[in-house]
């Protein structure tokens, strides 16, 4: 009997082609679309076209399953998504951090909750349309690698995958370029072959994080305060620290000769410290919730790595020291720009993901 794989389908071209490729490779494919975000009224829904979880997207996924003739189900994980991803997202912003919900969703939903479902359905693997690779070495250990198409690489969002998860996960697109994926979709006659990319966070309407947090937070937890320069001079008032992220330039509402950027967010005082571009460079950072693909790293005193501190940032050379079981000290070789608490810091060696964590603090020296 062929191996059974549960494919998480969003209705987009990537997960559709992932399902098609697995079917071609002889797997027994079961398509699963996850209902994650709470229902929104039709108007907001229409505005959210192009992001995941809308009815149109479920229909796109369903059509692909019909076309390729495999069973397809929509499952309801709204409650789990709310408590494990959305609540965390809101509370992170309220404490002055900038969360990465995709990392949380992968860790808590796709590679945990969905895994339980896969086991209940006797699936051997979970597959997604992520651009990343999993390879197995002679010793039987699994390695998470960057996608071949570097412009699409999503390994950054997947650093939490451990040996257990990797052993039962398939990323069929890891060696393909996006152009090739679209061409495959067209060749297969998939209706969503030319569907635009979703760039936004699926549960945030119109990508307006601040409005989403304001709407979903208890009013007493909104921390307003002052925007100050490095010497503490008050430049303006603001209506909530959740509206800011480190490195942000737009929307500060302050006239200045040189452009001003957010340097730091202080949840205690409500102060937003701004400065010039050059002020944004940090010497290092402390990361928490660290997960390591290779536990041996933790036993070594210091490891040369490259780190990515935001999804779209280029990797930076750095040295890594594991402090205790889930915290790490990272020192940049040449300084790191806009180190943002709440974002993921992912450790690479060449193409391989060694692990990562969530940034707690930037280090000035």
């Amino acid at each position: 009997m062929s191996e059974r794989v549960l494919v998480a389908m969003s209705g987009g071209v990537d997960s559709s082609v992932a399902a098609a490729l697995l079917r071609e490779q002889g797997y027994e494919v079961i398509g699963i679309a996850m209902r994650l975000a709470p229902e929104r009224p039709p108007t907001a829904m229409a505005r959210r076209r192009g992001t995941c979880c809308s009815h149109d997207d479920f229909e796109d996924a369903r059509r692909v399953a019909e076309k390729l003739d495999f069973p397809f189900y929509v499952i309801d994980l709204r409650a789990e998504f709310e408590t494990r991803v959305v609540d965390n997202f809101v509370s992170e912003y309220l404490t002055g951090r900038t969360p990465n919900p995709c990392v949380m969703c992968n860790r808590e939903i796709k590679f945990d909750r969905l895994w339980q479902r896969a086991a209940a359905l006797e699936a051997d693997f979970v597959a997604t349309g992520h651009y990343a690779r999993i390879e197995r070495d002679e010793a039987g250990r699994f390695h998470l690698l960057r996608a071949r198409d570097e412009s699409k690489d999503q390994s950054y969002f997947l650093f939490t995958l451990g040996q257990c998860e990797m052993a039962r996960t398939l990323f069929p697109l890891g060696s393909l370029s996006k152009t090739r994926v679209r061409a495959l979709a067209r060749a297969l006659g998939l209706a969503n072959a030319d569907k635009p990319e979703s760039q936004e966070i699926c549960f945030v309407p119109q990508n307006d994080y601040a409005a989403f947090v304001t709407h979903n937070a208890p009013p007493e937890r909104i921390r307003s305060g002052n925007i100050r320069n490095a010497s503490g001079l008050k430049l303006a008032r603001h209506r909530g620290i959740h509206q800011f992220t480190v490195g942000q330039r737009r929307g500060l509402g302050i006239a200045s000769t040189a452009p001003l950027y957010v340097r730091a967010i202080d949840a205690e005082t409500g102060d937003i410290t701004v400065g010039q571009r050059g002020d944004l460079v940090s010497a290092g950072l402390i990361a928490g919730m660290v997960r390591l693909a290779d536990p041996e790293i933790s036993s070594r005193s210091e490891v040369k790595v490259e780190v990515k501190i935001r999804y779209r940032h280029p990797p930076l050379p750095a040295s890594l020291r594991i402090l205790d079981q889930d915290r790490a000290h990272v020192r940049f070789q040449n300084g790191g720009p806009a180190v943002t608490p709440g974002q993921a810091c992912v450790f690479y060696r060449g193409d391989e993901v060694l692990g990562g964590g969530i940034i707690e603090t930037a280090l000035e020296s």
Binding site: I30, H55, Y73, D76, A120, L121, E122, C164
Partner: protein, 391 residues
């Protein structure tokens, strides 16, 4: 072999209905029953013959049946059609009705009608005590179901029909799930309007009927022609009507034997499952229930997962209702019966029908407990996650 245990959602076509429709399509299907010519007259004969067959199913006079596009349209016609007296602004219904009753009535509430939703007991039974006073001189319509689709509870509607008639309100009974499963006679329930659906009794989907008691005033909702004695304009779906008529005839002919057989199979399935699934709970009353319906709470699993896992094993069941996206929602009926949300999430519905065989039931009774055990072990319902899924 796929085992279909979702007859309450719609059963397979009875051979008699299939043959009647095939004959209709193969023969000269032309002819509008409203036309004067011979083809028109032939079409009219088919229509009226089917009407008589459907009517006799509920012991009603032939001309009292209005053909519609199904149970949903019948319910909409009954509800919106009953509100022609501007002095009567109250609607009485229950908390366990089908969405084609709940949603129109909620819309009417939004438009300013006063809506009373009668609650039910833990078995899904409507309580007459203390509820009958809500049916007063302001009440335009009392709309309740005879047999509940999700748990199967059969209501004793006599007190409600008497109260409705005393108050001068129109009494509507949704009998879509009851007809063909128990003996239904319009006189027994004392209804003014009764909803029927063809595909619940082995006819085709897309055709239904509304019984309108002679003398009951109902405002048509589809205007534009004299068809169906002016109650529902539009050329009737003659192929569907033919299938409905044949299914009604067949249902009547086999009902006594068939219902005994289905009840026996359902009891067998329940007994086997209770023996193998520790803590299994039957929702709804043991007696006073359409016997084909088993709404079961399976401990320690999500109904959603059980449903998918069973589908992958070839057993087709259902749960609550599907949302627009196709995900399943926990049953509002179970919640109305006082079940906790988690219990409702763990509950699924198995419904047997005319095509169910002993072999299918014996197989289902083997597969379901083993799938339940596997799902319960793999997907813990709550609390901290289990040990890493490594093996």
């Amino acid at each position: 072999m796929r085992i279909y245990l979702d007859h309450n959602a719609g059963g397979p076509l009875r051979p008699a209905a299939r043959d009647a429709m095939a004959r209709f399509i193969a023969g000269n299907a032309e002819g509008n029953p409203s036309s004067v010519h011979c083809s028109g007259q032939r079409a009219r004969r088919l229509l009226e013959q089917a009407r008589a067959e459907v009517a006799s199913l509920i012991e009603a006079p032939a001309r009292s049946i209005v053909f519609t596009s199904g149970g949903t349209e019948s319910n909409n016609l009954a509800i919106f059609g009953a509100l022609h007296n501007p002095a009567r602004r109250r609607i009485v219904t229950s908390t366990i009705e089908h969405s084609s009753i709940i949603v129109p009535i909620t819309e009417l509430e939004r438009r300013g009608f006063e809506v009373i939703r009668l609650s039910v007991d833990r078995d899904g039974k409507l309580l007459a005590d203390g509820n009958l006073d809500t049916i007063d001189q302001n009440t335009a319509l009392v709309s309740v179901g005879l047999a509940n689709a999700e748990v199967g509870t059969i209501q004793d509607l006599r007190p409600f029909s008497q109260a409705a008639h005393r108050a001068g309100a129109i009494f509507h009974v949704d009998a879509a799930q009851a007809v063909g499963r128990i003996h239904v006679a319009v006189e027994d329930s004392g209804c003014d309007l009764m909803t029927l659906s063809a595909h619940k009794l082995g006819g085709p989907a897309g055709i239904g009927g509304l019984y309108v008691r002679p003398g009951c005033t109902l405002a048509p909702q589809l205007l534009g022609g004299p068809q169906e004695t002016g109650m529902r304009a539009g050329t009737p779906n003659l192929c569907g009507v033919t299938g409905f008529g044949a299914a009604a005839r067949e249902t009547m002919a086999c009902m006594a034997d068939e219902q005994e057989r289905i009840a026996m199979l359902a009891r067998l399935l329940l007994r086997r499952l209770e023996g193998l699934v520790n803590g299994l709970h039957l929702n709804g009353p043991r007696e006073g229930r359409i016997q084909n319906t088993l709404n079961l709470t399976f401990p320690a699993v999500l109904g959603e997962t059980l449903l998918i896992a069973l589908d992958l094993e070839g057993i087709e069941i259902s749960m609550g209702s599907a949302c627009a996206a196709g995900a399943v929602e926990p049953s509002h009926v179970l919640l109305a019966m006082g079940r906790r949300a988690m219990e409702a999430r763990s509950s699924v519905r198995l419904s047997l029908g005319w095509s169910t065989t002993l072999e299918e039931i014996e197989r289902a009774a083997e597969i379901i407990p083993s799938v339940w055990r596997r799902v319960a072990a793999a997907e813990p319902l709550s609390g901290p996650r289990e040990a890493e899924p490594c093996s």
